[in-house]
């Protein structure tokens, strides 16, 4: 996404003197908002590193660091297993959704065929069906397949997503037709055109879609909640709740587990910040 800046030349003299105060207000607003957005995450990490006797400390800076909470969280629940499970589910869902999205996007962008508008509409409409509306029939289907409490059941309903298909169709429609035509003149068949010509050229769009799918699958909570029976068969989002009990909450381990559950996402964000923001923005700007 490109955000152009005003060139100074278009500002009239009267406008040019104002910005200093306006900028100050703008900075103040953004700093305030940034603090609201970032402080909870900062506080989570800070608390997770505090030893048990200092857990209720209100110091805004780290005063004593300890990994006890992490050690406790890892031993109290099958944390490592759950993180691996979450990673497996997210990676597989990402790969499959990309595949179905690329194939369907190719069909919509390449051919005009009977029912294409209807099918496109039917796919777009799935966006309007909340998971809660179809949860019981889906749950029953998983039960019939004997897949309650398995990772497979977490993956199956996510074989395709309307968003991936629409984004791929849109990117491929914008792909220069001459390139496809030239490849076909050279005798390339559809598989070759798709995988050797189009896909390598859409690397950027595909990569940001992959990030978006991975993050949203990693963060998913509702569907695993329906299917989980045993912690070691589930994803990390389910594990966090085990530190919140009737008798009270184990704040230190809860914050340590929360940090571990969000660390992979935060790392992806740290490295690929531009692409992550870009991919989420595309999901909204459509």
């Amino acid at each position: 996404m490109t955000i152009e800046t005003h060139s100074p030349g278009v500002l009239s003299p009267a406008q040019r003197s104002a910005p200093s105060l306006e900028n100050a207000i703008g900075h103040a607003l953004m700093i305030g908002l940034s603090l609201i957005c970032i402080f909870p995450i900062y506080w989570m990490i800070l608390t997770s590193l505090r030893p048990e006797n200092r857990i209720f400390s209100t110091a805004l800076w780290p005063d004593a660091a300890s990994l006890d909470n992490y050690a406790y969280a890892i031993s109290a629940i099958p944390m490592a297993r759950m993180l691996v499970n979450t990673f497996i589910v997210s990676a597989i869902v990402t790969a499959i959704q990309l595949l179905t999205g690329i194939l369907a996007g190719y069909a919509f962008s390449r051919w005009r065929f009977r029912g294409s508008a209807f099918l496109f509409g039917a796919i777009a409409l799935t966006w309007l069906v909340p998971l809660q509306v179809v949860m019981i029939p889906n749950y029953l289907l998983v039960a019939r397949l004997g897949m309650i409490d398995t990772l497979g059941a977490l993956i199956l309903p996510h074989f395709a997503s309307a968003f991936a298909i629409m984004l791929m169709a849109q990117s491929m429609r914008a792909f220069p037709g001459e390139v496809v035509e030239a490849a076909r003149m050279d005798g390339a068949n559809n598989a070759h055109i798709l995988w050797q010509v189009i896909v390598p050229n859409l690397r950027g769009a595909i990569a940001s879609l992959a990030i978006l799918i991975f993050i949203s699958t990693w963060n998913e909570y509702f569907w695993p909640l329906l299917l989980t029976r045993k912690a070691e068969h589930s994803v990390v989002q389910i594990g966090l709740q085990m530190f919140i009990t009737e008798e009270g909450t184990q704040w230190g381990p809860l914050m340590a587990a929360s940090t571990m559950a969000s660390l992979p996402i935060l790392l992806i964000y740290l490295v690929l910040q531009r692409q992550v923001i870009g991919s989420f923005m595309k999901s909204g700007l459509r």
Binding site: I3, E4, S12, Q15, P19, E22, N23, I25, G26, H27, L29, M30, I31, L33, S34, C37, I38, P40, I41, M44, T58, L99, T100, L103, A104, A107, R110, W111, R112, F113, L119, T126, V129, P130, Q132, V133, V134, I136, P137, L141, A143, P157, A160, I215, Y221, F222, Q241, I244, T249, W251, M255, S258, A261, S262, I265, Y269, V276, F280, M281, L285
Partner: protein, 315 residues
């Protein structure tokens, strides 16, 4: 794009095929590429939608051994007589109304106010305010539970330091719903701000300049040029808030209040879950699901109609 590949190539591609089967393959090809996606949607969305509709006329408790009894419209009559349903619908409405300032009004103000900031600091702010959007919802719930804890949470300690009594953010029936609304909004605010900033930056600078030369002040430019041009984006965000906003609150409700105290934070999505998986009244849950889905359809149709009407601003 119609497929006009020279026959010669097709022959070379598939030498083993006879002409009719080649033609059939050609006609079927788009559907083959679509098959995996369509199959997934049929199995996991459309067929379940139809069965939810059927289940809404039946009485059943989710146990495979117990019989499903056809009860006609009984489920609908029953849930409409339940105070919980009306409370949940009211609450859903509060969620939506409460979210709009956080997901639209505030981000819009911020986007308009920060358009002249230097690009470098703007990028830093962008990176920071986007973080809540990617944090797992359960983590967000856990962290806010800690921040808002009545005895040890930093917010209440700050309030006490200021001389106020601690606030029961999550167990006071008057306050809990707004706490959840705030947390849901907290996750969205950076995202909306970025979307609106991008749309605002995309406005043709010459339009703004022309108005300025005509003597329009900053506020008139915002009112008469920027807001109308931003209206499609605003509408899109309103639609996202309505269709997804209350739905996103499920994790927070489940982790923070379980719908309580006294049902004060239960919205329609949480009620569906309670009917279905806490009390195992499949019929009631399905009837409520059908009502929700129909309500959704009406809202979506209204928004799309409005969008079509506003789209003339969209060049």
């Amino acid at each position: 794009m119609t497929d006009l590949a020279p026959l010669r190539l097709a022959v070379r591609d598939r030498p083993g095929m006879s002409l009719p089967s080649r033609r059939a393959y050609r006609a079927l090809r788009p559907y083959l590429y679509l098959a995996p996606a369509i199959a997934c949607f049929l199995i996991w969305i459309y067929e379940p939608l139809a069965s939810a509709f059927l289940l809404s006329f039946q009485q059943w408790n989710l146990l495979p051994t117990s019989p499903r009894i056809w009860v006609g419209l009984e489920n609908y009559r029953n849930i409409f007589n339940l105070p919980q349903l009306w409370q949940a619908l009211d609450n859903t409405w509060y969620y939506l109304i409460g979210l709009l300032p956080l997901s639209i009004v505030l981000p819009l103000a911020i986007a308009l106010f920060t358009q002249d900031l230097p690009a470098r600091s703007r990028n830093l702010y962008r990176a920071l305010i986007f973080v809540p959007m990617i944090v797992p919802p359960v983590v967000a719930a856990a962290v806010w539970r800690w921040l808002l804890d009545p005895r040890h949470g930093i917010f209440n300690l700050a309030l006490q330091w200021l001389g106020s009594d601690p606030i029961e953010f999550l167990s006071d029936p008057q306050i809990a719903i707004w706490t959840i609304v705030f947390i849901t909004g907290w996750k969205l605010i950076g995202f909306s701000t970025l979307i609106l900033s991008a749309a605002n930056a995309g406005i043709d600078a010459s339009l703004v300049e022309a108005a300025r030369l005509d003597g329009a002040g900053k506020w008139r430019i915002i009112r008469d040029i920027r807001l109308p041009l931003l209206s499609p984006t605003i509408l899109l965000l309103v639609m996202m808030t309505i269709l997804l906003g209350a739905q996103w609150s499920f994790s927070y409700i489940h982790v923070l209040t379980q719908g309580g105290p006294l049902g004060s934070t239960t919205n329609i999505y949480y009620l569906l879950w309670q009917f279905g998986f806490a009390t195992l009244s499949v019929g009631w849950s399905s009837a409520a699901a059908v009502i929700l889905f129909l309500g959704f359809g009406v809202v979506a149709a209204a928004v799309f109609a409005l969008k079509a009407r506003l789209s003339f601003y969209d060049n």
